[in-house]
């Protein structure tokens, strides 16, 4: 088998590994290095800065509401798509993935065009004291938009797989729809739901573009952690920028690990 082609496979393997190393491994590893370049004190200072703490709070609030809303929406939609037949089902199914193809900036623009202060809806809402754009509700909506497919696509395959024998049995024994859902359906999709929630949470915590547009990037008011990273980097406070970036990297890695553990077998091939 000593053909000249014998070196091709190791060479190709080397190319693939080098590509991953230079595109992925070194850049992410260097964030660690740059963060701790000057010891741990600047990192602690950066992370305990009041502006940073505030950004963490804003991020947590926005991510929390976006995940709660998308969880309710995701489970409802998955049940509708898997267990029900209705007109427009294929359209609904296609619409769920639409947000993945929309630029985050367009998401922000779209929400401003409908809920901004110059629109009829925006003025009506501000009349009753609700400010959407440049405020938390708009940021929640933008985050919801970008995360819409995650819970649906995590739950639907499992719902499909488990079938509805048990749900039927429960119904014949006299359980109502709510009881059936809480005692039969929910426990059996628990793992998949947790998986979808972790994905949505990670995405929510890390959203940048859509939130950048909708929040108005008001420092100390609507600044999230990702926005803080950019603002600090551009304002030559690289230590805080790197410290927060590192924290986001760690969060992403944790989310990856947890989602791997939770991933239902219907999804992991």
């Amino acid at each position: 088998m000593a053909s000249p082609g014998v070196l091709v496979r190791p060479a190709l393997k080397g190319v693939a590994l080098l590509y991953l190393t230079f595109l992925l491994v070194i850049p992410v590893a260097l964030i660690f290095y740059r963060t701790f370049e000057n010891g741990i004190q600047p990192v602690i200072d950066g992370l305990t800065d009041p502006a940073t703490v505030h950004a963490f709070q804003i991020t947590a609030v926005v991510a929390f509401w976006a995940v709660v809303a998308n969880t309710i929406f995701g489970v409802t939609t998955a049940i509708l798509l898997v267990r029900h037949d209705f007109r427009g089902k294929r359209v609904l199914n296609a619409l769920i993935d639409l947000p993945l193809a929309v630029s985050p900036v367009i998401v922000g623009l779209a929400l401003i065009l409908v809920y901004g202060s110059t629109t009829g809806i925006g003025q009506t809402l501000s009349g009753i004291g609700v400010k959407v754009i440049f405020s938390i509700p708009g940021m929640v909506m933008a985050t919801i938009f970008v995360c819409i497919p995650l819970v649906v696509r995590a739950v639907a395959p499992v719902l499909e797989e488990i079938g509805n024998d048990q749900e039927q049995a429960a119904a014949t024994l006299g359980a109502g729809p709510v009881q059936t859902f809480l005692r039969i359906t929910l426990p059996s999709i628990r793992g998949a739901l947790a998986y979808g929630v972790v994905l949505a949470l990670a995405r929510s915590l890390g959203e940048y573009g859509a939130v950048a547009v909708v929040s108005g990037r008001l420092v100390g008011r609507t600044q999230t952690v990702t926005l803080l990273v950019q603002e600090r980097y551009l304002n030559f406070d690289q230590e805080t920028a790197y410290a927060c970036a590192l924290l986001l990297v760690v969060t992403a890695v944790l989310a990856l690990i947890v989602s791997r553990l939770l991933a239902p077998k219907e999804i992991t091939r």
Binding site: V8, R9, K13, V15, A16, L17, Y19, L20, L23, L24, P27, V28, L30, I31, R34, F73, T76, T77, I79, L80, F86, L92, P99, A101, V102, S103, P104, V105, I106, L109, A110, I112, L113, V114, Y115, F145, I148, G163, N164, E167, Q168, P177, T180, F181, A202, G206, Y208, G209, V213, V229, Q230, Y233, A245, L248, A252, A255, L256, I257, R260, R269
Partner: protein, 284 residues
């Protein structure tokens, strides 16, 4: 390592049972659920996106056309489409190669490497940009400063789109039986022949799907390019950054017009992908 008993023929798995006539929630329950879902999607996705398209057409088609053909808009669209095309092609090759290495080659620490592939999806895009700038910017430890060039735009897009082709091709390669390859080898086919005549035809639909997805994602990317591209008009400003700047400058109509172009391109790519997948599924 022959996949035990996995047939290459279309698998005779029974078709999924048709939706049973009985439903756990019918009538009012379904109506409430459907109403909620439609309202939710309308308020957050559909009406806002429709507003973008409407705003772009505010001054009629000629107004739209003028807005997307200003020198700056035209150059940003050209750059974005061109860069996305290059990125999609590189992904088609490198993604397939990486999937191959993960499935078929012995690599130390393969499980870790395999998990790493998803990192670009999990990492916030601004952090991705910062990471790339750290290595390939002015303070590059390896002396490789490509910041504020078109190459930097391509690298940023390659980073965020890395998983698409790998993750669409990998499961197909895993399912692929090696018996045919062994048969071809025993008949004297070289590795190249085996790859191009046997493996490749089986994974082409998956490669195409992953490539289309990475193209659509590259077209719409914003965060990762913000720091490393420098956002120089006529040079490194991608469409999303252009839209962002128009928005900041209160030119909503211009922003909406360029957005419409992006939305249409993405939509065309996704519809083409859907048709392709249906065709591939029919072909078996």
């Amino acid at each position: 390592m022959a996949g035990a008993g996995v047939s290459l023929l279309p698998r005779a798995t029974p078709a999924p049972p048709a939706a049973p006539p009985w439903r756990p929630l019918h009538g009012r329950g379904q109506a409430i659920g459907l109403g909620f879902v439609v309202l939710y999607l309308s308020l957050i996705v559909l009406i806002p996106l429709a507003a973008v398209v409407a705003k772009g057409q505010e001054n009629g088609f000629s107004g739209f056309w003028n807005a997307v053909t200003t020198p700056e808009a035209a150059s940003t669209l050209k750059l974005t489409i061109g860069a996305s095309f290059v990125v999609a092609l590189i992904n088609a090759v490198m993604g397939t190669l990486i999937a191959w290495v993960l499935v078929r080659e012995r690599v130390p620490g393969r499980a870790v490497l395999d998990s790493l592939i998803d990192l670009p999806f999990a990492l916030p895009t601004i952090v991705a940009g910062l990471a790339l700038l750290t290595v390939y910017g002015a303070q590059s430890p390896v002396g490789l400063d490509i910041a504020y060039t078109r190459l930097a735009v391509v690298v940023a897009l390659l980073f965020v789109t890395l998983p698409f082709v790998v993750r669409t091709v990998q499961p197909v390669l895993l399912e692929l039986d090696t018996e045919m390859e062994q048969a071809a080898a025993s008949l004297g086919a070289g590795p190249a022949t085996i790859f191009f005549r046997i493996v490749l035809p089986n994974i082409v639909p998956a490669i195409a799907a992953g490539t289309a997805l990475s193209f659509a994602r590259a077209m719409s990317e914003f965060g990762s390019t913000v720091l490393i591209s420098g956002n120089l008009p006529f040079q490194t400003q991608v469409a999303s950054v252009h839209i962002f700047n128009q928005l900041e400058g209160d030119n909503l109509t211009g922003a909406a017009a360029v957005s419409t172009v992006l939305l249409v391109v993405s939509l065309v790519v996704l519809v083409a992908l859907d048709l392709l997948q249906r065709w591939a599924a029919r072909r078996g």
